[in-house]
Point group: C2
Chain length 255, copies 2
């Protein structure tokens, strides 16, 4: 029974897609069967794994009821890692879904068919709290929250915890916070240290021990359509994500 | 007649709010009368200027028809710079507006009352192409596009140009691209140089000469509720934004 984790934060550019691609790839390299769902119309997780978004086989076709998930799943250059690709057409869902019955449960229903096939399923979310992110939080068991150590990201954290509370009460009673991940961390910035201490004291029990440091190989890898572990397995970025995979497994043992 | 510029890019974390706050402040310090509209429910431009979001006086109340813009405008710690503050309630507009008459023109109508009072009006947009960003693009004369020199930001550029085309044909025939601004530029990254060359060759006539370099003072300033020019007028970040203001004025002389 695949464990479903949404990777969400309405603040933009905090490392959601980078975490989704590289944590999924690290678990796949450790021989777990992993599925990554790209639920962002920008389709960054899709192109970051070297797959060209297709107007035929994409998650929008499934959310709008035209296809099943099994019709669009594809393998990636990383063994054991499958992808449900996105496409810019997904922007349409934000406008169309509000008029549909049980609109919050579309993704949860789609995942029932494939959940048995995978150990872990991740959902990369767009930077918003719109109907697509609501679908992800309704389908998920847990939420992993990447955060940058800067003032705007800190302010958004309490709003996100508040939203998770609303979703738990309205649509998904099992939803829990898996953890808060300090990402794109730059040790040279005094402010980053100050903010990380504030986060650790605010939501202590959630913060991952693992920190993902800013590393140029992490920025370069997606331009070649690869996770950082496939791009340069020896770099610090790869170490960080392998360490993260280990800590994630301890928090979420295989069911 | 205030010149209206939307600062937009659906890619998250590329420096929209940082550009909105600091370009507005630079023009205000040069003695132009400036208004900044925070159209993002995250309300980062509001808190970045030291203003606590209020559930009473905010842009959501105006968009939903409960108040006029003049009811919510407030001055900031920067002379000549006023703000129309945001609040998390603005998330409601994404869900409510779809059922309202002429929903794309709400902001354009609101701005008619105040346009005479300012030389320049800026709109900080959220990282999405939803109804709020459509409102900003419908109300604006020009669009300024901050972009980071990394692969995901590059892929989003053509989608944004495509969206601007759609808005121009459907709602706002005057809408033009003011420019593309390379922001958060890190000269040490080989990838940044490669991507910036691609951007310059792709949309050559739009790219601003001014580049905003990555600078720790720029990240620190909003945590004290100040634009970087008020925080540390002598730092490189302040130079960059004063230079940007000069180039912006050459492209958009006062009407
Ligand atoms: N640890 C890191 N070191 C260096 N660069 C990083 C790191 N993590 C992310 N980045 C870069 O920062 C940018 C933003 O990251 P990413 O796109 O993953 O954020 P996001 O939260 O998914 O953005 P969006 O809100 O648009 O979905 C990307 O260019 C990415 O390559
Ligand atoms: N030139 C710069 N140097 C250093 N840090 C910067 C610079 N520009 C922006 N930042 C920092 O990068 C982060 C993202 O910037 P910002 O919030 O302005 O982006 P945004 O596009 O408005 O994000 P969102 O998509 O969430 O609205 C902020 O912490 C900001 O302080
Ligand atoms: Mg992303
Ligand atoms: Mg912003």
């Amino acid at each position: 029974m695949g464990h479903i984790t949404a990777i969400a934060n309405q603040k933009g550019g905090v490392g959601k897609t980078t975490t989704a691609i590289n944590l999924s790839a690290a678990l796949a390299i450790l021989e777990y069967r992993v599925l990554l769902i790209d639920l962002d119309p920008q389709a960054n997780a899709t192109s970051g794994l070297g797959i060209t978004p297709s107007s035929e086989a994409n998650i929008y076709r499934c959310i709008s009821g035209q296809k099943q998930l099994t019709d669009i799943l594809c393998s990636t250059n990383t063994p054991n890692l499958d992808l449900a690709p996105s496409h810019i057409d997904l922007v349409g869902a934000e406008i169309e879904l509000p008029d549909v019955e049980e609109r919050e449960y579309r993704l949860a229903r789609l995942l029932e068919d494939v959940r048995e096939r995978y150990d872990y399923i991740f959902i990369d979310c767009s930077p918003s709290l719109g109907i697509l992110t609501v679908n992800a939080l309704t389908a998920a068991d847990r939420v992993l929250i990447p955060i940058q150590c800067e003032i705007f990201a800190l302010e958004g954290l309490s709003k996100l915890f508040h939203t998770i509370e609303i979703i738990r009460n309205a649509y998904n009673p099992h939803l829990e916070v898996d953890g808060v991940l300090l990402s794109m961390y730059d040790k040279r910035l005094r402010l980053a240290k100050m903010i990380s201490e504030k986060i650790r004291s605010g939501v202590k029990e959630y913060v991952y021990e693992t920190v993902i440091y800013r590393n140029s190989k992490i920025t370069e890898a997606p331009s070649l359509g690869q996770p950082v572990l496939m791009y340069d397995a020896a770099c610090r970025g790869s170490d960080n994500f392998l360490q993260l995979a280990g800590e994630f497994l301890r928090r979420n043992p295989v069911k």
